[in-house]
């Protein structure tokens, strides 16, 4: 057993500069091994290797752009030195024209600043990037192993978090919604967890796809059977998946378990309302939940109304004015007000030219509505 702690400087460097992928798990492995008797030299060697790998992983994707930029500048500088036609060069690149006019000064400036430039080039990959890449994580829902995408801000946290419920899109299409909302929220200091429920995306091998089940029910018993299947699945198996994802998120050391918001679009909006009814969230953001299925579907209307009447946290309802129906937001907001539950409603101007565009505002228009959603979430969850 090693009674002395691991070298703090090496740990600090790892926390700050090692690759983002499973950084905490790597540091935990090193601390555990050090505690079992590995020396500080071993710890430092591992840390330096991890830092080098992290820097390499950050630089490699940018290498083609860097090489192209350097080649372009080399060509232009050679032209600057050989031609005496600054006007042509100005047309190619105004900055080269500027350099031509100040050649002597340029040499002096470059000579003095070269070490600083080199240092900046080396450190650039380590600087914080607001748009964090997502990592795939697994979680258990009953006996099923499901997967989801996790977006994290820089640092150890703990951070407030958003559990993002996807819609009914097949395959990995919901990744587009996650990639719209995720980076905006991460830049504001929120962790975003977007679990794929059974049958969709990276959890498609865990069970049947909900839309296939709805279509089968429709073929068997018509529209009423389809609606019943949709409501039943969303309120049972799919809801269980959401709550399992919430339980997983609450266990993470980088998440503030008391500051988790449920958010979702379309089917994900319905899931959000059902999730807030269950409890465990500090707020909910229902984006166009049930808009495509609302008209004439009494069972859905009644189940969602029941959910908001028992809501355990405030809910923000938002939609574009040209969605298939804005009634779900209006009706559910009114239902919450009637039982004195805190709720807000935002109906935005038409987005695009069709009802489909209006419905897709739920994810495509994230940069439009997220400001309002963040104000609502921060007022309720980060007082």
């Amino acid at each position: 057993m090693n009674k002395r702690g691991p070298p703090w400087l090496a740990t600090f460097l790892l926390r700050r500069f090692a690759g983002r992928y499973r950084r905490d798990a790597l540091i935990g492995d090193l601390i555990e091994e050090h505690g079992r008797g590995r020396g500080s030299a071993w710890y430092w060697w591992q840390a330096l290797c991890a830092l080098t790998c992290g820097a390499q992983a950050a630089i490699l994707p940018r290498l083609p752009a860097l090489v192209a930029l350097l080649a372009w500048w080399t060509v232009l500088l050679l032209l600057t030195l050989t031609l005496r036609r600054p006007v042509i060069l100005f047309a190619l690149d105004p900055s080269v024209y500027w350099l031509l006019r100040r050649k002597r000064r340029l040499r002096e400036t470059l000579g003095r600043s070269a070490p600083v430039l080199l240092l900046c080039l080396w450190l650039a990959p380590c600087l914080p990037r607001p748009a964090a890449a997502a990592e795939t994580v697994a979680f258990q829902s009953g006996d099923r192993t499901l997967h989801g995408l996790l977006y994290r801000p820089q640092g150890d946290g703990p951070f407030p978090a958003v559990l993002y419920n996807h819609g009914s899109a097949s395959g990995l299409l919901s990744n587009q919604a996650f990639d719209r909302a995720g980076p905006i929220l991460v830049a504001r200091g929120w962790v975003v967890f977007a679990p794929y429920r059974t049958g969709q995306g990276t959890s498609s091998d865990a069970g049947p796809y909900i839309m296939d089940e709805i279509r089968k029910a429709q073929a068997r018993g018509g529209e009423a059977a389809a609606e019943h299947t949709m409501v039943e699945l969303l309120a049972t198996g799919q809801l269980q998946d959401q709550m399992a994802a919430l339980a997983w998120l609450k266990r993470q050391p980088f998440v503030r378990a008391g500051q988790i918001v449920a958010m979702g679009n379309s089917f994900g909006g319905i899931e959000t309302v059902l999730g807030v009814e269950q409890g465990g969230y500090c707020a909910g953001v229902d984006v166009a939940g049930g808009a495509m299925s609302w008209e004439g579907h009494r069972e859905l209307q009644s189940r969602m109304a029941q959910a908001v009447e028992h809501a355990t946290a405030p809910i923000l309802f938002l939609q574009a004015g040209n969605d298939y129906s804005v009634e779900p937001s209006r009706v559910l907001h009114a239902a919450m007000e009637a039982v004195h539950k805190p709720s807000e409603l935002r109906i935005y101007p038409a987005y695009g030219s069709s009802k489909d565009d209006g419905h897709n505002f739920g994810w495509r228009g994230a940069d439009v509505w997220m400001k309002d959603a963040l104000a609502f979430m921060e007022a309720r969850c980060r007082p």
Binding site: G28, C53, A57, A138, P253
Partner: protein, 111 residues
């Protein structure tokens, strides 16, 4: 159809180690499996960088266990092969064995 991308040698080692370590496949057991098989230590940073590439390619998935005090409050990441990962590993095994069969015995040339 996209160009097939073959896994690198470290990727094959890591895939094999994840399979061998089974349910306990996390950073340290994977490193131990590789060291036991090759006789050479591989830095954990390289293993995690390889796992990141493999997860991006959909060959492994990972999940976090509970955080523990002996790890400074950090969770352990557990890895397992996906179906494409297992298929890729089997393909690599078949290719290497086929090539090995064609090799002359050590010390003898081909007639």
């Amino acid at each position: 159809m996209g160009k097939r991308e073959f896994p690198g040698s470290l990727e094959i080692l890591v895939l094999s180690a994840v399979l061998r370590a089974g349910r306990e496949a996390s950073g340290i057991p994977i490193a131990h499996e590789i060291e036991a098989a090759t006789g050479r230590p591989v830095p954990l940073g390289s293993i995690y960088a390889t796992l990141a590439r493999l997860e991006e390619k959909g060959m492994v998935v990972s999940e976090l266990g509970p955080p523990t005090p002996e790890r400074g409050g950090r969770a352990r990441a557990f890895f397992r092969l996906t179906t494409p990962g297992l298929a890729e590993l089997r393909h690599a095994q078949r290719s290497l064995l086929a090539l090995w069969d064609e090799l002359p015995a050590p010390g003898r040339g081909r007639a």
